[in-house]
Amino acid sequence: MSIHNRDSFLDQVAEKLGRERRRTGVMRPRWRHTPQWKVFEGDDRDDLSDRLKEQCGRIHTQLKRSTAERLPRVMDETIRTFGRSVVIGDDPRFQEYGLDEYFQQSREKGELDVHVWDPARDEENIRFAEKADVGITFSDITLAESGTVVLFSDNGKGRSISLLPRTYIAILPKSTIVPRMSQATREIHQRVERGEAIPSCINFISGPSNSADIEMNLIVGVHGPVQAAYILVEDR
């Protein structure tokens, strides 16, 4: 049994609420107010891309645009400004977008030190990521309003890739852009309703880590990545 003291605790809650304990039959109401769906209503993907770009400026994140064909070149330019050791997720999209080949070649030429996240070697992944200059992942859902990449961090897409290296680079396929958090949480909610398991960790990441704890001055880069860059790519 891994739930302790539940009945006495919840019986007391019900008693204080002045009624019998409710164990079934509670329906989530249809909320009378729904302002979240009005945000960027009617915007198409191009409009949302512009909004995303604008927001990235506010969260200290550079946004580059690229076609699928040019992506390896844009990636190369971006990585070089941040360092040479790179950790990437084990994600089929790296192959789809031709980045596998690019990393392979860079490694052979000795230009980059690339580590692909391998769930079978847990400690080793973390040791490498901790020392790496750059961590790279694809965005699963991209939020225009807040400049956010949503990561379903499981399997080959370790939590640490977007966390431990000094710089975080996210690749945002244009088709992943939605107006705001509401569209992403609805998708997750629908998965739960269908009875599907959700990843043990879902991250909403908006730019580099920061803090205003010292005299309310914004410090960009604290425990997580110190810098962040996004590459918005036209879908293949």
Binding site: I3, H4, R6, L10, Q12, V13, K16, L17, G18, R21, R22, R23, V26, R28, P29, W31, R32, H33, T34, P35, Q36, K38, P119, N125, I126, E130, S146, D154, N155, G158, R159, S160, M181, S182, T185, I188, H189, V192, E193, A197, I198, P199, S200, C201, F204, S206, S209, N210, S211, D213, I214, E215, M216, N217, I219, G221, V222, H223, G224, P225
Partner: protein, 477 residues
């Protein structure tokens, strides 16, 4: 008393706060910045009132059905491989957490910022059995190093310290030898704490909102330390106040949106992390063991009472950032880990009137808190309700007299508070003043001004007038 910090009397704390010009300057500028940011974030969103209405609607429904949603949450956590402990008291919560630490032979604990762990005094409980508890939020790290100074604000706990003081703490305790540039100090803390994260056995966090439908714990942060606490150690413990729950991910969206905007004026913080149970079979990082501790500690006493809406609080501190009293006396004067208007409502409920009876009087009833609250808790009305309750409990003299005398005693026995109050009156009332009279006053003045005008407070206090007059007399002679 769990929420209590320090042993000094209220009036002594107030005087200390008012005399601390450094702290007051820091509080003033923080209030201004945070207040502005919140307003512009709300304005950007457009229909802020609609968002607040939705926030209130969600919180009310959830609290009315709290037993149902907590049962669902605990079932889902169990399904995803976690353990759940329902703790009626702080002691029960600490005993369970200690047991987990002992079983895991955990020596080093890394911890993200959490108000409820402060409330139950968890760090002390763990240290008693020989655990080393490392605070990893930048502000909490600084406070912990500074011989465990107390937080003075729920979002920016080190608000009362300036960068020079912080540099001194780092220098004295950790041999820091660089400047007081915030960036340099943060880089130093990053380096120091990285080692702790990598070596830790257990990670402990609070919980901004749990999602009942999936058994998820969400954390809303900027620095990345909470992510590190939950990605690296093998054992993770999350501690939540029992009211911090939403039905589904769709409501999580609304409350997180309200929280980020109200707390720091951001659309979303750098990280919003949803954690569900233990790591999957094919995950390389994340905890192998997960415990959720759900804490009552006096909260259920608010259910079914007129104070129930105080449980709707999402800990954004918007009410603190607009409060004129907090501005003058600072966070430590409240003597509770929950300062400001919400603290003045909650502390007496969690800690009793004997220790916190003064707090409901540490308010001008201007209602700025109520207007700022993103989930529409009627804070100033709850403060009045507290005053009424106390008078009823005392059953002495007439209500009006007791109330007036208590308020006067508080102001009059603290010379500085009295001075600040009389000096501030013309400024505060200037918003409502037309010519020499007040035609539509705030809070307690309203019933009067509804039927007649109230003379505007003199720009000069009696003391100032008297001093000037004495001075003049001196010149005349």
């Amino acid at each position: 008393m769990p929420v209590k910090i320090g042993e000094k009397e209220f009036f002594q704390r107030v005087d200390e706060g008012i005399q601390d010009s450094l702290m007051r300057g820091a509080v003033r500028s923080a209030q201004e910045r945070l207040g502005e940011r919140r307003l512009s974030a709300a304005e950007e969103l457009g229909d802020w009132e609609e968002w607040r209405n939705l926030g209130e609607e969600i919180r009310s429904h959830t609290m009315e059905n709290l037993d149902y949603y907590l049962e669902q949450l605990s079932d889902k956590v169990e399904e995803s491989g976690g353990h759940v402990f329902f703790a009626q008291t702080a002691e029960e919560a600490n005993r369970y957490i200690r047991n987990v630490a002992e079983k895991k032979k955990g020596k080093k604990v890394v911890k993200a910022k959490s108000m409820v762990t402060e409330e139950i005094g968890m760090n002390d409980a763990l240290e008693e059995i020989g655990c080393e508890v490392v605070e990893t939020d930048l502000a909490e790290y600084i406070l912990q190093l500074d011989d465990r100074d107390h937080p003075s604000h729920i979002v920016v706990p080190s608000l009362h310290k300036n960068k020079e003081q912080i540099r001194e703490v780092l220098q004295e305790k950790r041999g820091y030898d660089q400047t007081s540039q915030p960036e340099e100090m943060a880089a130093f803390a990053r380096e120091q704490l990285r080692r702790e994260f990598l070596a830790a056995d257990i990670g402990i966090t609070g919980c901004n909102f749990a999602v009942a439908e999936s058994g998820t714990v969400s954390l809303v942060t900027n620095e990345g330390n909470a992510r590190l606490c939950t990605a690296l150690p093998k054992t993770q413990i999350a501690v939540m106040g029992m009211e911090r729950i939403v039905p589904t991910w769709e409501e999580l969206d609304i409350l997180v949106s309200l929280l980020c905007r109200s707390a720091v004026g951001q659309k979303l913080t750098s990280y919003v992390t949803g954690l569900t149970g233990i790591k999957g079979d094919r995950d390389a990082d994340g905890p192998e063991e997960f415990h959720l501790v759900i804490v009552d500690n006096g909260r259920s006493n608010l259910l079914g009472t007129e104070f129930q809406s105080a449980l709707h609080c999402i800990r954004c501190a918007a009410c603190i950032n607009v409060c004129p009293i907090y501005r003058h006396i600072g966070g430590h004067a409240y003597g509770s880990i929950y300062p400001g208007p919400i603290g003045a409502v909650l502390s007496p409920l969690l800690g009793g009137y004997d220790d916190y009876g003064e707090l409901p009087y540490a308010s001008s009833l201007c209602a700025a808190c109520t207007d700022a609250c993103p989930v529409k808790i009627p804070l100033h009305e709850l403060l009045i309700l507290h005053r009424r309750r106390m008078v009823e409990e005392e059953k002495q003299s007439s209500f009006g007299e007791r109330l007036a005398m208590k308020g006067f005693r508080m102001a009059a026995t603290s010379p500085r508070l009295y001075e600040t109050g009389t000096r501030a009156a013309p400024g505060v009332m200037s918003f409502f003043t037309e010519g020499d009279s007040v035609k539509s006053g705030p809070g307690p003045v309203r019933p009067w001004t509804e039927i007649r005008d109230f003379p505007a407070p003199s720009k000069e206090s009696f003391r100032q007038w008297f001093q000037k007059r004495q001075g003049k007399k001196g010149e005349d002679e």
